[in-house]
């Protein structure tokens, strides 16, 4: 615990102001002990396939968290350029997504992935790295990531539809909405000449491979 507390400030300095993860100082106890939720007012936990929903929420939460960090990295480099407002706007939408998944995670009592601190750093590095390749590089990264994410959401929608569309109605609605948002980000990236980035196809393949690995790991760990 002492080691973690000592390491945390150093990390925070290098990462700016990350929220939570290892960037935040580890806090043993809830400060005011938020209101515990009565089972009946929480999302109804009976009759749903816990294993499937667990995985879905865990990986989606990790995904939105990572996307958040990617945009943060991009803003750190390109914040003052002409692409700044566009990236900021997409970042704001991702922040909303993350907030929503935080709520779902609490309601369904899902544990977050252990790799969150890792995605914290990796996301920021990916965002900053792609932004260092210029505006087009950043847009290429956005296109690659958003395409991966919308495919992933589509898979989840398919899984839930196969299970029981009625039981998972709100979850399905949320995922559909988010999938549409991510598709929009993907299109914005293309509009801003992502394909003009240096080594676009290589970049895109590598990033999408990374995303697939991240999704695989976050579902399980």
């Amino acid at each position: 615990m002492a080691a973690a507390a000592a390491l945390a400030p150093a990390l925070r300095r290098s990462l700016g102001r990350p929220r939570g993860g290892l960037g935040g100082v580890p806090r043993p106890w809830p400060a005011s002990g938020g209101a515990p939720r009565l089972r009946s007012t929480a999302a109804s936990l009976d009759g749903i396939n816990r294993a499937v929903v667990d995985r879905i929420i865990r990986v989606d939460h990790a995904g939105e968290y990572g996307a958040n960090r990617i945009y943060a990295g991009q803003m750190a480099v390109l914040g003052r350029s002409t692409a700044g407002p566009v990236i900021q706007q997409m970042w704001n939408q991702e922040k909303d997504h993350l907030k929503k998944f935080n709520e779902l995670m609490i309601a369904y009592r899902v544990r977050p992935t252990v790799l969150l601190p890792f995605w914290n750093v990796a996301g920021f590095v990916l965002g900053a790295g792609s932004a260092l390749l210029g505006k087009k590089g950043a847009m290429a990264c956005t296109v690659a990531v958003e395409e991966s994410i919308s495919d992933h959401y589509n898979n989840q929608i398919r899984t839930l539809m196969e299970e029981d569309p009625e039981k998972y109605k709100e979850l399905l609605q949320i995922i559909k909405q988010f999938r549409d948002d991510e598709r929009e980000h993907h299109d914005i990236g293309l509009e801003h000449d992502a394909e003009g980035a240096p080594a676009y196809s290589v970049l895109k393949t590598v990033i999408q491979l990374g995303c697939k690995t991240a999704i695989f790991l976050s579902e399980r760990i």
Partner: protein
């Protein structure tokens, strides 16, 4: 040996069994088919034939009844032996095991977590003492059953408490008080068995028990923190659970060596550990603000130096 006998009888007895189909009792999907059948079905050896006829299903717990002609259940008189509970309704093997283990608990202070205690428990239910053969020799199932029962009791307790707070009948406790009470309540459930508890802990640490015991431990800690109002969605989720698990385990160890009246020393130890954890939180906050101040100071110094040396001048 049973399999060989069954195999030799298979051909000869198959037609005989078909003829007797109308008389056999309902067979439930066996969890540990061989154990159960060997011990409890002494009187009904022929029943092994239908099992032997589908050998690949003998070792699984098939989701559906493997028998081709599924019959409505008859009374299971041969299992409950003399008197006892001749239940007309269907009792699964799991429920039976539960009942035996629960009954066995009262013999634990005397016999320890052993097959003898289970045998005694089975006898109070009117079963033969050989029913203990259904379980492992080392008493693992008994201990796991006990731990699971305690966790369920704790969950119910916490749920009740939460309802009371929701209804406004009680004040909401501060976090450290809540955790202290929850852990104390859970540890108090060990008091009747505290003499033999060290034996139980060592059995729970056996490799083949570790997955189950770890599972029970983590779900109990998760429950406690859930009712304490933990809503973390980042790495703190793990930190908090790890810290609380550490506190629980060390307090349990202290309790096993405690000889003070009503385990006062243990509760004091628990209080101190929880206070430590709370302090850790405060220290962490302080470190955070110090770090921030330091960072600002360094940035300021760097800017001053670049100004002084003229490095920030544009040429």
């Amino acid at each position: 040996m049973a399999a060989a006998a069954a195999g030799s009888l298979r051909r000869a007895g198959w037609r005989l069994w078909r003829g007797r189909a109308g008389l056999r009792c309902q067979l439930y999907p066996p969890q540990r088919a061989l154990h159960a059948s060997a011990v409890l079905r002494r009187a009904s050896d022929e029943k092994k034939e239908p099992l032997a006829s589908s050998p690949q299903q003998q070792f699984d717990s098939p989701p559906a009844d493997p028998q081709p002609d599924h019959e409505p259940q008859g009374p299971r008189s041969s299992y409950t032996g003399q008197g006892g509970q001749e239940s007309e309704d269907y009792e699964s093997e799991e429920q039976l095991q539960h009942r035996i283990l629960t009954a066995a608990l009262e013999f634990v202070p005397e016999h320890g977590w052993t097959a003898e205690a289970i045998a005694e428990g089975a006898k109070t239910l009117g079963l033969s003492g050989a029913a203990a053969g259904m379980f492992h020799n080392d008493g693992s199932e008994l201990i796991l059953h006990f731990v699971s029962q305690c966790n369920t009791k704790l969950s119910d307790l916490l749920e009740q408490e939460q309802k009371q707070v929701q209804l406004g009948k009680t004040e909401k406790k501060p976090t450290d008080q809540f955790l202290r009470d929850a852990l104390e309540a859970r540890l108090r459930m060990l008091i009747p068995y505290i003499e033999k508890w060290p034996q139980a802990v060592s059995i729970l640490l056996l490799p083949h028990n570790i997955p189950s015991s770890l599972n029970l431990l983590t779900s109990m800690i998760d429950d406690i923190l859930h009712y304490a109002g933990d809503q973390s969605t980042d790495f703190n989720w793990y930190t908090r659970r790890a810290v609380l698990t550490g506190i629980y385990n060390t307090t349990e160890l202290v309790m096993m060596q405690d000889s003070s009246p009503d385990f006062e020393e243990t509760w004091r130890f628990l209080e101190n550990r929880i206070a430590d954890a709370m302090n850790m939180d405060n220290t962490a906050k302080q470190v955070q603000s110090t770090g921030q101040a330091l960072a600002q100071g360094l940035m300021g110094a760097a800017v001053t130096i670049t100004n002084l040396t003229g490095l920030n001048q544009r040429r």
